[in-house]
């Protein structure tokens, strides 16, 4: 009986599921192709304000771009530079929020292939303490109508503001060494040529930090190579974040054309490391204007032993062992310490 009931219920459910009809109402035809500024950075003293512009472009040639703007808080997603946005309408305000001080329009409509420049303002009250404050401006295209899965495109501008003064700065080095960006792992012995050196810093202060400095890499024979800038992108460790900064052992920079403008692209290429032992020395400096310059010094080491090198060493050892044994046998035979053993003849 139970089985019969289950079968009926299941059949009914499947029947209704089959009966699901996708609405054929026309979708919103607004554009969802936009160009925005990804990041804004300001230094504003308490009691002062900055008026700036936000330029948004509609890349669609046929439909207008209607955007809703709102300011949300964000933090870090992981040990990288991806923001975790607090999109919920009731999300609590963070202690580093710039929301109370940031003014942007709520709506904007941009004609096809057009652009608009919006006024924005960051005003820091006179009572505001020194530190770093940041939030994000989210530009959302309209939600579509129809279908099972609707698509919506949003862009984000991250806004960072530094309020100068005496701040609490505290970076602690947690890890330093050769690093594989793909696997996100540090290695002490590696068969694959390391392309990156990385260090992980825990930020326990009340400001974002962007350390600068260099890494000196020394091989077994004392040859040195210098990684001049360990933070070429001026990456930030947000408040409370443990951030991994990595830099190329050898950097290749090239000019590229991006939407009609020249930009510099940087990629890591082989540094031509020879197999062997390497020692790296990290020298880091950080500190806001008017605050103490703090220094972090650390050393790390790694072995680069590619497979071809390991095989070559093993083959070499086998050859050497073979010839040494042969030489010993030869000497022993010559000196009479060893006599050749005559094998018994097979013929009887």
């Amino acid at each position: 009986m139970t089985s019969f009931k289950s079968t009926v219920v299941a059949a009914f459910a499947v029947l209704l599921a089959f009966a699901t009809v996708v609405p054929s109402t026309p979708a919103s035809a607004d554009s969802a192709a936009l160009s925005i500024v990804p990041k804004k950075t300001y230094t504003i003293e308490p009691g002062k304000s900055v008026d700036d512009k936000l330029t948004i472009r509609n890349l669609d040639g046929e439909e207008p771009l209607n955007l809703t703007l709102r300011v949300v808080d964000f933090t870090f997603l992981d040990d990288g530079g991806t923001p975790k946005l607090f999109l919920a309408a009731d999300a609590p305000q963070t202690t580093w929020s710039l929301r109370p001080f940031l003014e942007v329009p709520e709506q904007v409509s941009i004609p096809p292939r057009g652009s608009k420049t919006l006024d924005m303002k960051v005003a820091i009250p006179g009572y505001q303490g020194a530190g770093s404050y940041y939030s994000a401006i989210v530009y959302s295209s309209g939600a579509p109508e129809g279908g099972n899965v609707g698509l919506s495109a949003s862009g984000v501008t991250l806004v960072f503001t530094s309020v100068p003064g005496q701040v609490k700065e505290n970076l602690k080095l947690e890890k330093f060494g050769a690093y594989d960006v793909q696997t996100k792992k540090y290695s002490f012995i590696t068969t694959k040529e390391p392309l990156n050196m990385a260090f992980r810093l825990k930020n326990s202060g009340n400001v974002t930090e962007s350390p600068t400095g260099s890494i000196t890499l020394r091989d077994m024979f004392g040859h040195e190579r210098l990684i001049e800038d360990v933070n070429p992108n001026q990456s930030l460790a947000l408040i409370g974040q443990t951030r991994t900064f990595y830099s190329c052992i050898k950097l290749k920079a090239e000019e590229v054309d991006f939407n009609g403008a020249r930009s510099e692209s940087r990629t890591c290429v082989s540094g031509g490391l020879w197999p062997g032992y390497y020692k790296a020395t990290l020298n880091l400096l950080y500190g806001q204007n008017g605050n103490n310059t703090e220094e972090i010094v650390s050393t790390a080491s790694f072995w680069y032993l590619p497979l071809w090198f390991i095989i070559a060493v093993i083959v070499l050892l086998l050859v050497v062992t073979y010839y040494v044994r042969k030489a010993i046998t030869f000497v022993q035979t010559k000196t009479g310490r060893r006599t050749k053993i005559k094998r018994p003849s097979r013929r009887t």
């Binding site: 192709a33 099972n148 698509l151 984000v156 930030l236 939407n259």
Partner: protein
């Protein structure tokens, strides 16, 4: 001559029971007393205050630190370089000019005057005076700030016994500074982030089919419903970009088809909703990312063929640095169990492209 050598040898032999102890004592004295006096130490509590941090403006600097060695100091060398490490070659920060700087005040170890100055170096001098470990500061006016707000700079500090910054250094250390503007003026073109989403888009976002919903047909426990959408993205920002997929799982009233929380294969007959950004064979759907630029990639969890996932807020594609335009095709799958309640299951997925910090 031979006679003298014999006498010297006799003398040494007679004193043989004494000299090892004396020699050891002498070595100890050198190691424990002489060495610390001559060893260079780092200045402590180092800081730089720039009255204005606007790029290229003429302003005043206050350099503060504490001397650590009690040796007589006759000169102080201040070199403005990008790299703070004292033994590395010094590259002057673009735009810096301290050649007209004036020393307007000093506290702690004082009585210095400017001996010489170039665009990126100032040497202060005084009669060598026995130092006392104390906080000191030096105020300069008429310094032209560096112009590049894209990188920090440093002032390498060294104290010397000589009056002209020659000879061995006594203490050393660096202070860090950076120009920043109320409104940052980029040295190259302004960073921009280009992003578009639709059922079909061109790689440079200039054309889309202006369709923003995906019809997946009727749910069926024995088949997988599939659909595709596309998005293109690119940025010249040095930090790169990240795209997150946001939204709620497919639902009809209170009935929900949950997203796949771990990358999993499509299994008809089981409630599943997932996406990925690569070409698949089961089911046959999707296209690998298009575009020659290698920096932009699908996230590992969304980049394995035939494995699907959907967790709201996940990063589905990213680039760690500058990336020319790249097009991603998003594949959607829905599977339903026979027990799934009837209804119109819908959701809106908002793809959010942001810069990275």
């Amino acid at each position: 001559m031979h006679h003298r050598l014999v006498r010297f040898h006799e003398f040494l032999f007679a004193q043989r029971h004494l000299w090892p102890e004396e020699l050891i004592a002498l070595l100890l004295a050198v190691l424990f007393l002489a060495a610390p006096v001559t060893e260079a130490k780092r200045f402590q509590d180092r800081s730089l205050y720039m009255q204005s941090s606007e790029p290229g403006v003429t302003t005043s600097y206050k350099v503060s630190f504490s001397y650590m060695s009690p040796n007589p100091v006759g000169s102080l060398d201040m070199q403005f370089c990008i790299d703070p490490i004292p033994y590395h070659p010094c590259v002057a920060p673009p735009g810096i000019d301290v050649s007209d700087a004036i020393l307007t005040g000093q506290t702690g170890e004082s009585s210095f005057t400017i001996l010489s100055q170039t665009a990126n170096r100032i040497i202060l001098t005084r009669s060598p005076t026995m130092g006392i470990s104390q906080a000191s500061s030096y105020n300069f006016e008429g310094i032209v700030n560096p112009t590049d707000n894209g990188q920090a700079f440093s002032i390498r500090l060294k104290s010397h016994a000589s009056g002209d910054a020659s000879g061995a250094q006594i203490d050393f250390g660096s202070v860090r500074g950076q120009v920043a503007s109320g409104i940052v003026i980029e040295t190259q073109v302004p960073p921009m982030l280009v992003f578009c989403v639709a059922e079909e888009v061109s790689e440079n976002c200039t054309t889309t089919n202006d369709n923003y919903y995906v019809d997946m047909g009727q749910l069926n426990p024995s088949t997988t419903l599939t659909a595709q959408s596309q998005m293109a993205v690119g940025t010249n920002a040095s930090g790169g970009f990240a795209i997150t997929a946001n939204g709620t799982p497919l639902s009809a009233g209170t009935n929900v088809i949950d997203g796949m929380t771990t990358p999993s294969a499509s299994t008809p007959g089981k409630n599943q909703f997932g996406i990925n950004l690569v070409a698949n064979t089961v089911p046959d759907i999707g296209i690998d990312p298009e575009g020659t630029w290698a920096n932009a990639v699908a996230s590992p969890d969304y980049g394995v063929p035939d494995f699907y996932k959907f967790v709201p807020g996940d990063v589905v594609a990213f680039s760690p640095n500058v990336s020319l335009m790249k097009k991603f095709t998003v594949s959607y799958i829905i599977n339903s169990s026979p027990e799934l309640r009837a209804g119109i299951y819908t959701t809106t997925i908002s793809y959010i492209a942001s810069g990275r910090f």
